[in-house]
Amino acid sequence: MKKQVLALVMAAVMAGSLTACGSSAADTTTAAQAATTAQAEEKKEETETETEAAGDEDGVLVMATNAEFPPYEYHDGGEIVGIDVEIAEAIAEKLGKTLEVEDIAFDSIIPEIQSGKADFGAAGMTVDEDRLKNVDFSDPYTTASQVIIVKEDSDIAGPDDLSGKYIGVQLGTTGDIYATDYEEEGSTIERYNKGFEAVQAMLQGKIDAVVIDIEPAKVFVSQNEGIKILDEALTVEEYAIAVKKGNTELLEQINGALAELKDSGELQAIIDKYISAE
């Protein structure tokens, strides 16, 4: 009897792992196809989206994010919360849809949008040229800076002092892209999977500085003694929502909802709720 149960469980596990493999294989092919037929699809989208409202027909908007980026998105007691999540909820409400948040790796967000598994991505994403090749961006909803965190006794006083140093970043973030420019000046860039790991490495003296977005930086500094944010930011940039290239209908709906939220002051209220609370 016991053996039968065990066999059953193992069979279930194997079946589960098989489907897991299957779907991920399908992802890559659909992503590849989406890439190869991007232009063809653009035309198709225009006709399709006229009948099809934003997102799915069943009234669900799927948002892709990486919930390790406080205060924009993070896990809080089993739920994903944060500025981006609340803004997305407000937008979904305006469009008469329910929001579904999908937590994935940051560098998988754009492929997820391209393959159509997510309707849009809101993850503190900065508009940059490389990303614009792959997705369309809404109007910016907030600005953010890439700042430098150092230990209080550090001799680094500004971006110019970063050359030749060990700089920690989170892989694939804009901080990573900007810090990479310092490689030519003899700096070593250490790309951690998570932002807090870079901060931890700096606290342990393994690296000299961390380049990361200002809001998570504030959280890290408030939670750890002996580190500070430099006054001079590395860069200042704008955050926006990413949608599939050519999905102008959804983009316009999002832009419209964002404009309404901005005018009513709701947008600022959401941002203040998270940022001044720190």
Partner: protein, 230 residues
């Protein structure tokens, strides 16, 4: 299709010299694997000798106990946890070369598996071989080194080769401590180009080729050792 392929290839590997991420990563992967294999063999061999000596002669009980704790702990926890413990806890507050950290983590991890492989090899040699050595006037150590281990090595070679293939591929988790090995190299490109299949397929192909080359040499060695049977 081929135009698209060429454009993707250009974007992923040529633009901004992105191929360097892969090549530097490959260098680190090879470095980590090579030294971890050496460390694993040394550790594994010592542990196997201690454990089989205890089993045959009931000596070295204290060392045997230490070895058993080592085997239990290392085989009972994921290598990724061990790697992060060595990086963030053991070398908690100092700057340390990450290749060294990885070599230590993967070497110590591999040592535990190699130890059991070697021990199974030593135990597989018939006790008669041992008695023959002793009756010819060899002491325990000489019997072990000149008679038992050479035969044992031949027996465990396939299993050993297998372990090193696993080790080579396992180094792909070293990216967790922000070391730039082959998988991380592909990840960095992926994070820049948002193109999943090209960097990942390239990294996979490079691992595959490395394993194939390695398997070829292990088979050659196996053949050569088998020749001495006749």
């Amino acid at each position: 299709m081929s135009d698209k392929f060429r454009a993707d290839f250009y974007q992923n590997f040529i633009e901004d010299d992105r191929w360097k991420y892969m090549v530097n990563g490959l260098g680190n992967t090879i470095k980590i694997t090579f030294f971890a294999v050496l460390l694993g063999i040394v550790l594994g061999f010592l542990v196997a000798l201690i454990r089989s000596t205890y089993e045959k002669t009931r000596k070295l009980w204290f060392l045997d106990m230490l070895c058993r704790v080592y085997l239990t702990v290392i085989r009972g926890t994921p290598v990724l946890i061990q790697l992060m413990i060595i990086y963030f806890v053991v070398f908690g507050s100092m700057r340390i070369d990450k290749v060294l950290v990885s070599v230590l983590a993967f070497g110590i991890n591999s040592g535990a598996y190699v130890a059991e492989i070697f021990r199974s090899g030593i135990m597989s040699i018939d006790n008669g071989q041992f008695e023959a050595g002793r009756s010819l006037g060899f002491n325990y150590r000489q019997t072990m080194f000149y008679i038992v281990t050479p035969q044992a090595f031949k027996n465990v070679l396939p299993a050993l080769g297998n372990e090193f293939i696993v080790l080579l591929k396992e180094t792909s988790v070293a990216g967790y401590i922000a070391i730039q090995e082959l998988t991380k190299g592909a990840d960095i490109i992926r994070s820049r180009t948002y193109n999943a299949y090209m960097p990942l397929l390239a990294a996979g192909a490079i691992y595959l080729v490395m394993v194939m080359i390695f398997t070829h040499f292990v088979q050659k060695l196996e053949r050569r050792l088998r020749n001495s049977d006749h």
